[in-house]
């Protein structure tokens, strides 16, 4: 990794313990007004002291910039892409065909003062052409991030009808490894369903590997879990922290749960 990448990665993955806790608040571009129950301002007012990073789109990054001022503030991570995979049958406008587009460049993230760029790598798309286009976009973004010393966090997701219980770990491993080979500085994946599988993935990922919650059903089969239930074991298995989002926020007492998750992630490290 270049000097800039190492320095900026340390904005959201603590170099002391190699772990981070990230909150994803970028769903607005993909599912609409998702935060009606809690309000993003209020969430960040309560949560930012527990967080190492926050994922946002450009528009809300501008609106919420005050939460990223000062050195103790969480790092701003800019979402570079868009997909409709989260618009499931319960959404007012369910996705008929899964679509993906890259929207924001690494240069935009630099202009926004972001510490990193976040993108999806979606494996299992209906069309091989779509899959190739997604991988091409991730690779292009990775090259551009190299130019500016900006870390790239890839969220590697198995989706679609072809993903079953039997091949979930392999599909996840494939997505994760493609992300690493394309140039990710850090990868986030859903929990594979069991610890042995997770240990295998940690071993085969030579960049920091984080676990994310899945906020919606995107594959024919996917494990059902809550991050706080698997956190301790997952950390022991060697993961570098968590990316939590909508689902985590919508369960009661998110502030307390976030604090407790932070303590687990940073081994009793308290507020950030």
């Amino acid at each position: 990794l270049s000097t800039g990448k190492v320095i900026r990665l340390s904005d959201f993955i603590d170099p002391g313990d190699g772990r981070g806790l990230i909150l994803e608040l970028d769903y607005g571009s993909m599912i609409g007004f998702f935060e009606r129950k809690y309000g993003l301002d209020k969430v960040l007012e309560k949560a930012s002291r527990f967080l190492d990073g926050v994922i946002l789109n450009r528009g809300l990054a501008r609106q919420l910039k005050r939460f990223f001022m000062g050195r103790r503030a969480p790092a701003l991570l800019l979402r570079a892409d868009w997909t409709n995979v989260w618009r499931g049958p319960e959404h007012p406008l369910p996705a008929v065909r899964k679509r993906y587009r890259d929207l924001t460049s690494a240069l935009d993230a630099v202009r926004y003062g972001a510490s990193g760029v976040v993108t999806y790598l979606i494996m299992g798309q209906e069309s091989d052409e779509d899959e190739a286009a997604n991988i091409e976009a991730v690779a292009r973004l990775a090259r551009e991030c190299d130019e500016y010393g900006l870390p790239l966090l890839v969220e590697a997701l198995p989706i679609g009808e072809r993903v079953l219980r039997e091949n979930y770990l392999d599909a996840l491993g494939l997505a994760m490894r493609i992300a690493v080979e394309a140039g990710a500085s850090c990868v986030a994946i859903p929990y594979p369903g069991d610890l042995e599988g997770l240990k295998f993935l940690v071993k085969s990922c030579n960049v920091p590997l984080m676990l994310m919650e899945l906020d919606g059903k995107i594959a024919r089969w996917q494990p059902s879990y809550r991050v706080e239930d698997i956190a301790e074991e997952a950390l022991k298995a060697g993961i570098s922290g968590f990316v939590v989002g909508r689902g985590f926020l919508e369960r009661p007492g998110f502030e307390e749960r976030l604090n407790s998750l932070r303590r687990m992630v940073h081994s009793g490290g308290g507020e950030g």
Partner: protein
Amino acid sequence: LIGKELRISKILSGEDGRAVVVAADHGFMLGPIPGAAELESTLKKVIEGRPDAVLLSVGQAANMHRFFLGRDKPALLIRVDWASGFRDRTYPLPARSMTFRIAATPRTALKLGAHGVVAYLFVGYGDEEQEAAQYAALARLARECDEYGLPLIIEPVPFGPRVTKANRAELIVLSVRMAVEIGADLLKIPYTGDPESFKRVIDAAYGVPALILGGYRALTMQDMLEVVYEALEVGARGVVFGRNVIQSPDPAETLRAIRAVVHEGKTPREVVAGRLRGRVKLEVNSEKCTGCRLCEYVCAFTHHGVFDRSLSRIRIEGGWPGPFNILACTQCGMCVEACPSGALRLDERLGNVVWDRESCTFCGACAEACPNGLVVVRPDLGFVGICDLCGGAPECERWCAREAIKMVEVGGESRV
């Protein structure tokens, strides 16, 4: 330009919007000068003092990046230019003219993880072609920094044969305004020497945050802190200090003292006194005394705001041409013992005499008991004057040009 705002907030990082920045880029211009020679060990000590940002050259930024890992570490600033003019006759290969070059682009600085870039703006060195070329280069730099949302810190420096003592402050004002007009996001400015002229510099900056630079090493820590305090009072937002920190025997301690003034709002005297760790007293060497009586004047001025030697708590005996005898409080405690109303006590920490106005009856027993006749009892002015060591930073010691007065730890060891 949200990127600039966020990055500036990592430099001016406190809630007060101020910054303590350490410059350690001297090697690029001057070679391995003390402090910059063993940069890694210097930076280790610097980081312990918790600066808000550190300025390095491009090459050293890559070598030293481990000091910048984590959100609690300082922001990284990178010098993107080089100039020959600082290599005066005290350096090997003195520069024969002022030359200037851009050494790195903002993009390179970004790739190294920088939060901002720093470049000079020289005025007054007599080569107008170079001056124009430099201004044009800064304009390009400013545009490129805008492109990336990277703060540009310009360091306006009046430099060369056309700069005189008479026009220096005016040239600082000129160069600051030129820097602001070209697109500086922050300024690194020489102090003009007094708050009045520096206020004009701040006005010329038109709201662009200004940090003062240290230049050559100050003689004492208090002198250095006084300059910082004065500058902050008229609107400076902090400091960018180099040699005063990296050549200090204890860079971390020096930084803590600077932070106390910049971020905690302490006065230089409070900071210097706060560094004392035990009882102290004044030690005098009358053989060095020239009888200038500055100590008497400064004592009276410090405590009463007037240059009236009769109010001084230190006294010089003897007339021109000498010899002179310095009489200073020894904290013998005889005044305390003599006081019938308990209005005097010895401070537990420093050992100086503390007077309580409420308990005092102005009986004068203390003045009678003082073996050196140093107690000033003035019921007409409502005070009893006994040396209080100026709270741990005695002004008589500070102003004595012959160093005939020194504050020492009780037991005879040198000052902390």
